[in-house]
C-alpha cells in the first residue's frame, strides 16, 4: 500500500541515503523543478571501455572480510563472508538476537530493522551492503533497562503480543511509522504492518497500542 501523500510532503524527513547522497527533501524538490534539475543529472554514460582492465578494487570475499556496522549508535566490526545477511550478522556475530528470522525469504517481516530510519528486511540484505548506514534494531528502542520506548510500553498495556515472535519486527515497523507520521490513522497503521505477519492474530491489539502511543483513542482500533 502506498504511503499517504501527506507523508511525502516532508512531515518526516528521511536521513540522506549514504549511497546516493540524495535526501528525500532535495529529491522531491529536484523532481518538482523538473528541467532545471535535469541538466545537473544528465546521463553520463561512459565512453566505450576499450579493453577490459583489472578491477581497481579487488573483489571482496568469498572468505570472511571485516564488515563495519553501525547498530543502535555503536560501531562494530565483524568478520563475515559477503554472503551473510544482516539478520545473521546481528544474531550470530553481534549476539543481538532480538531481530527474528522466521521465513528467511522476505515474506513475514519478523526480521524488520530500520536502515537509515526506514524499515527493511534484515534477511533480504547482505550485511556487507549495510555498511555506512545507521541500523536500528529492537534492542535500540528502550532507553535503558528500566525505561522502555513508549511504543513498547503500549504493546504491554494493550497486550499486543501472544507468542511474541513477530513482536520485534512489528515494533520496528510501528516505530518507523510514528517517526514519520506522529498521528497515524488506523488505515496508516494497517498499511505499516501489512508486511508483518502475526500468526497469533494480535493485530487489533497492535493497532490499539500504536493509537495509544500516538496519543489517540485506542478504541478506534475496533472501527474496522
Amino acid at each position: 500500500m502506498p504511503r499517504k501523500n501527506s507523508d511525502s510532503l516532508g512531515q518526516g524527513t528521511r536521513e540522506p541515503s549514504a549511497s546516493s547522497g540524495i535526501t528525500r527533501r532535495s529529491f522531491l524538490k529536484g523532481t518538482g523543478i523538473g528541467a532545471a534539475s535535469l541538466a545537473a543529472v544528465r546521463l553520463q554514460l561512459p565512453a566505450v571501455v576499450a579493453e577490459v582492465q583489472e578491477p581497481p578494487v579487488p573483489a571482496v570475499g568469498p572468505d570472511p572480510v571485516p564488515v563495519t556496522l553501525q547498530v543502535n549508535g555503536q560501531t562494530y566490526t565483524v568478520r563475515v563472508e559477503p554472503r551473510i545477511t544482516l539478520a545473521d550478522a546481528l544474531r550470530e556475530h553481534l549476539d543481538l538476537t532480538g531481530t527474528k528470522v522466521i521465513c528467511d525469504r522476505g515474506m513475514c517481516g519478523g526480521c524488520t530493522v530500520l536502515l537509515d530510519g526506514e524499515p527493511v528486511l534484515a534477511c533480504m540484505l547482505l550485511a556487507i551492503a549495510a555498511q555506512g548506514k545507521a541500523i536500528r534494531t529492537v534492542e535500540g528502542l528502550a532507553q535503558s533497562d528500566t525505561q522502555l520506548d513508549p511504543l513498547q510500553d503500549a504493546f504491554i498495556t494493550y497486550d499486543a503480543l501472544q507468542c511474541g515472535y513477530c513482536t520485534p519486527g512489528m515494533l520496528m515497523s510501528c516505530r518507523a511509522l510514528l517517526d514519520r507520521n506522529p498521528k497515524p490513522s488506523l488505515a496508516d497503521i494497517k498499511a505499516a504492518v501489512s508486511g508483518n505477519i502475526c500468526r497469533c492474530g494480535t493485530y487489533p491489539h497492535v493497532f490499539a497500542a500504536v493509537l495509544a502511543a500516538s496519543g489517540q483513542d485506542p478504541r478506534l482500533a475496533q472501527q474496522g
Partner: protein, 289 residues
C-alpha cells in the same frame, strides 16, 4: 547460499569494468528481493555480485515536460510511490510500483530489478509498456536502447548480456489529456503474485482516442504489448463498444498457462475484465486533465 564475492562500484564505468572482469560469474544485485531468494534456492548461482545501489547513475529520478521521465534502474520503489510529480503524471506506474511487496520490500526493491528478473508477472512491466518506456542499457561496448516489451525473452531471461547493466528507463512526458492505469488480480489483498496484470495509457482529443497502449502481464511466457488491441482504439470515441473490442483483441494474444493461481481459461477471462477496467479508469483520468 553458496560463496560469493561482493563489490560496491562507485560509478557506472566502474561497475561495467567489474562486470566485464567477472564474465559469466558476475551478476548485478539491486534490492536483492528476487535475487537473494533465488540464490538461496540454488536457482541462480552468480559468484560475483556487483551492487547496483551504489552506482549514482542508476539513482536518477527526474521529470521535465520536454524530456519526460528518467527513472534510474536502481531507484527504490518507495521513491516512486511517494513522488508527487510521478503521482500526477504517471499514476499507473505509481500503482504498479505500490503493489510490490510490503513497506519493507518497497524500501529496497527496484523497477530495474522487477524487469531484469524476467518474470512474466512483474507488476511494473505492463505499466512501463503502456507508457512506451525505453530501457537504456550500458556495456563496455557502449549504450543501446531496448523497448520494455522487447526486454524479456523467456521466463527469467532477458536481452541483457552478462556484461550489460540496465541504467535507466526513459518515458515520454504525457501529452495533454493523457493518463495511465495499472491493475492486477490476486486472490488476496496484497503480498501475492499477479494472476493477471494489465496496464493501459490513453490520450484523448475530446472524446476521441488519439493514442493508446496496453501492456499485459502473467498471460504469456513474457510480458506483452497488446499492439492490435491498442491500435483498435485510435480514432474512435473511447466508449464501451471500443473498449470491449480492445479487450477482446487483448484476449486474442494472451497465451496463459494453468497453475496454482488460476486456470488458463480463468486468466483469459481476467484479461478481458482488467483490460476494460484499466481503459475506463485511464480514460476518466485523461478526461479530468
Amino acid at each position: 547460499m553458496h560463496a560469493i564475492t561482493y563489490e560496491a562500484p562507485k560509478s557506472l564505468e566502474h561497475a561495467l569494468r567489474l562486470l566485464a572482469a567477472a564474465g559469466e560469474k558476475g551478476r548485478v544485485l539491486a534490492g536483492g528481493t528476487d535475487l537473494l531468494i533465488q540464490m538461496r534456492a540454488g536457482v541462480r548461482t552468480p559468484e560475483r555480485l556487483i551492487d547496483a545501489k551504489t552506482i549514482p547513475e542508476l539513482q536518477v529520478l527526474s521529470f521535465s515536460p520536454h524530456e519526460g521521465l528518467r527513472l534510474g534502474a536502481a531507484v527504490p520503489c518507495y521513491r516512486i510511490v511517494e513522488d508527487p510529480v510521478l503521482c500526477q503524471h504517471y499514476p499507473g506506474l505509481v500503482e504498479a510500483a505500490g503493489l510490490i511487496g510490503s513497506v519493507q520490500i518497497k524500501n529496497r526493491c527496484t523497477v530495474g530489478g522487477n524487469l531484469c528478473n524476467g518474470s512474466p508477472a512483474a507488476d511494473t512491466t505492463p505499466a512501463l509498456i503502456a507508457l512506451g518506456a525505453v530501457c537504456y542499457v550500458a556495456s563496455p561496448r557502449g549504450t543501446r536502447t531496448v523497448a520494455v516489451e522487447d526486454f524479456v525473452v523467456s521466463p527469467g531471461r532477458t536481452v541483457l548480456q552478462p556484461d550489460e547493466v540496465l541504467v535507466e528507463f526513459r518515458i515520454p512526458a504525457p501529452p495533454p489529456h493523457t493518463a495511465d492505469c495499472y491493475q492486477r488480480f490476486i486472490p488476496r489483498n496484497e503480498m501475492d503474485i499477479a494472476v493477471v496484470g494489465v496496464g493501459a495509457a490513453v490520450t484523448l482529443d475530446g472524446e476521441v482516442c488519439t493514442a493508446a497502449r496496453i501492456g499485459l502481464g502473467a498471460v504469456a511466457p513474457t510480458p506483452l504489448f497488446a499492439r492490435e488491441a491498442s491500435a483498435s482504439l485510435v480514432g474512435k470515441p473511447l466508449d464501451d463498444e471500443a473498449i470491449a473490442t480492445a479487450a477482446e483483441l487483448a484476449q486474442k494474444i494472451a497465451r496463459p498457462i494453468t497453475d496454482m493461481r488460476g486456470t488458463a481459461e480463468y486468466r483469459l477471462h481476467l484479461v478481458g475484465v482488467l483490460t476494460r477496467r484499466v481503459l475506463k479508469v485511464a480514460a476518466e483520468r485523461a478526461r479530468a486533465r
